[in-house]
Symmetry: C2
Subunit: 420 residues, 2 copies
């Protein structure tokens, strides 16, 4: 009955997450997992663990036959990939929290897992404490998944909450996020959406069997959100969130992007404040399900790493069922988005390339429009994130290709223009 | 790589869930699971499936060597137990949605699983579409689980929501729940808390390794909730929910009960309306996590059954880790509850047996008090659910044994009584 594997861990990284994990493991003796060695970059620092645990030589961990699990929580994605791939080749299981590394090397990592038969788990890389990968793998493992919408970056959500609710400026809010340890060491990774799109890259694999790379997913962060945008949202009783979205279209393909979005107050995502993350999964027969938890911070991340370590005792592996055992889905460019664009100067917005415009608003210092634009237009151009333009997707903003003609006709009729 | 098991299903029951499952399976060809035979009780009825699928002879399913999975979604818990235990003994895996049967036969079912080595899954019996068992088993599989609070009965939550928000009477709300298919065939099972405590019985096993029976858990339903209680809640900006709760005490033991509770507006459970269920898990390092989804209805239940069927393809079993691989926790009687009790006549409330009383309120037709009472008092007596008394646990109402003396002193001092 007892199929436990005894775990002897080699840990890479002793920053907030690494140290958090060390503490968590000490308080979880039932796990029977022990850290044998910790590889660090800078040996000089004072650390809250016995000196003899530390080394700066990665090979001491990677070549130790007694170490059967490598846990990697370092910041450098290039070094992380080298560590992880060597570990897998050296017949060790791997737990990683490096979203950037995973997103950028997804295909290679999948190949390595298949070649070596080892397990690589990275739940903490997705939404820290929310077990979203595990549930997509195990529970939503059929082809009934309609859509998944998520707030996957705690730092930007924290900033947006502080701007909205505590009326902080963007700068103040960012500083506060950094002080509380929610922000990446390079804040642009969070603020400009890189972190979110990295996570979305591999979540698309677990959700839909889509194998892509971050460059291939349309994304933006919150760096263009203007104070006036927050005002507009308030007037319309909406919130602004950085939402990662994937949605099955009628064609069977998947619309996916990471963009700021207006969110209705009764949307589950509106419930997600501060550094929390939230995932709304809509599936065939279960309707909407909502997962919510801390998405950033050392302990929530460490606790997810801990659950992965624990799962290794039972030889758990991601099966990537939707990729290997189903017909994987493909991304689509063939849909439309209803978007809000605010701007300083209309000449920076190519309004003629909108399908139609539904709303205009102009004040002296800031103007906006709401209109429908093809996804391809956004993919092929960058005007919407240049010249102080700010684009926010409307609530429920995805419009199917097949619906566009009728909607356009209706919209033009509303404007008094009749077409056949 | 392909470790799928081909699934040939024998289905017991073709009520709303059984028929839902039949439809869901037809729309999920990727599952490669087929229903070979359906056992029903009443052969005469018109059914939306080919005649040759049906039989009234359970042995045709249970003795068919080709059938390797028995799915049981019938209403009769005695018959269900017989079917399930025979199926396990006949080397078939089992998926069951019968909470009552599982709760009442938990020990026997655990023994059977160990003896036969077969898998028995029953995710749909807990919170329908929310994968709570799976997550307790796999993700919160360590000893860091502080507490779990949940709304596990969609029907009572629907009724409470309709009373609170749409100002329906209890009767009207119950009728509506029945019309929409959220209520058990015997509404008392929902309304009086039996369904919730049944679910809580086996969720305690997955959460804490506690093996108990429904009679051993203190519970009540919502049948005593008075219109005046709803008014009090509104005045205090609280909601009333039927909450199943388990919480690790400082002693290491677990306080567990299913009772109506006041819930603050910012409590995650306040978010849970209508037939939805919600689970708030507080664990050592991840802080609070919230799972939310449809907890009643044919399709959400069928979709959970489907996920269990799907998991069988990968030979998934519950490991009951906390029971077998950890030191299981035990239930405690040694704690106190802050409670609100409304009553028609004070003589029906033994106020001298309260530790102290914090609040009195008397109007002509209805009166209430708020006070602190030992859990043992509630366990050993029934006054609190008799004579039209209505007991509702205060928000965050659990008080640890070790905290009681100091709190009592403070409370008496506030009342002007000084003690040493």
């Amino acid at each position: 009955m007892d199929t436990h594997k005894q775990l002897t861990i080699g840990l890479f990284g002793f920053g907030v997450v690494g140290e958090g994990l060390y503490k968590v493991l000490q308080q979880t003796p039932s796990l029977k997992a022990s850290i044998k060695k910790i590889c660090i970059k800078h040996p000089g620092k004072e650390r809250n663990a016995p000196d003899e645990l530390f080394t700066t030589d990665k090979d001491i961990l990677l070549n130790d036959p007694e170490i059967n699990v490598i846990v990697e929580v370092i910041d450098d994605s290039k070094a992380a990939f080298e560590i992880v791939s060597t570990a897998l080749r050296n017949e060790k299981d791997v737990v990683s929290a490096s979203k950037k590394m995973i997103a950028e090397n997804l295909t290679a990592l999948l190949d390595l897992q298949q070649q070596t038969g080892r397990s690589m788990l990275y739940e903490s890389a997705a939404c820290a404490s929310i077990p979203v990968i595990r549930n997509l793998e195990e529970y939503y493992d059929n082809d009934l998944l309609h859509s998944i919408k998520a707030i996957v970056n705690g730092s930007t959500n924290f900033i947006l909450t502080k701007i909205f609710e505590d009326k902080l400026s963007f700068k103040q809010a960012l500083l506060l996020a950094q002080q509380q340890g929610f922000a990446e060491s390079d804040p642009r990774l969070d603020v400009e959406g890189y972190d979110a799109v990295n996570k979305w890259t591999f979540l698309l694999t677990h959700a839909y069997g889509i194998l892509t790379s971050p460059e291939n997913i349309l994304f933006n962060g919150i760096q263009h959100i203007d104070a006036s945008d927050a005002l507009v949202a308030k007037t319309k009783d909406l919130q602004i969130k950085l939402v990662a979205q994937a949605q099955k279209l009628n064609s069977g393909r998947v619309a996916a992007f990471v963009l700021p979005q207006f969110v209705r107050q009764d949307d589950h995502l509106a419930f997600v404040k501060n550094e929390y993350n939230g995932v709304v999964i809509e599936s065939g027969f279960a309707d909407k399900q909502f997962f919510y938890g801390k998405g950033a911070g050392s302990f929530p991340t460490a606790s997810a790493v801990l659950s992965d370590i624990s799962a290794l005792r039972y030889q758990y592996k991601y099966e990537y069922k939707k990729l290997y055992h189903h017909t994987p889905h493909e991304l689509s460019d063939n849909f439309y988005l209803r978007v809000y664009v605010s701007f300083d100067d209309l000449k920076n917005v190519p309004r003629e390339r909108f399908e139609w415009i539904e709303e205009w608003y102009a004040q002296e210092d800031r103007k906006y429009l709401v209109g429908v634009v093809s996804f391809q237009e956004l993919r092929n151009n960058t005007w919407w994130k240049e010249n102080n333009n700010s684009l926010i997707v409307a609530a429920e903003g995805v419009i199917e290709d097949i619906a566009i003609r009728q909607l356009k006709k209706k919209s033009l009729e509303l404007a008094g223009i009749h077409v056949n």
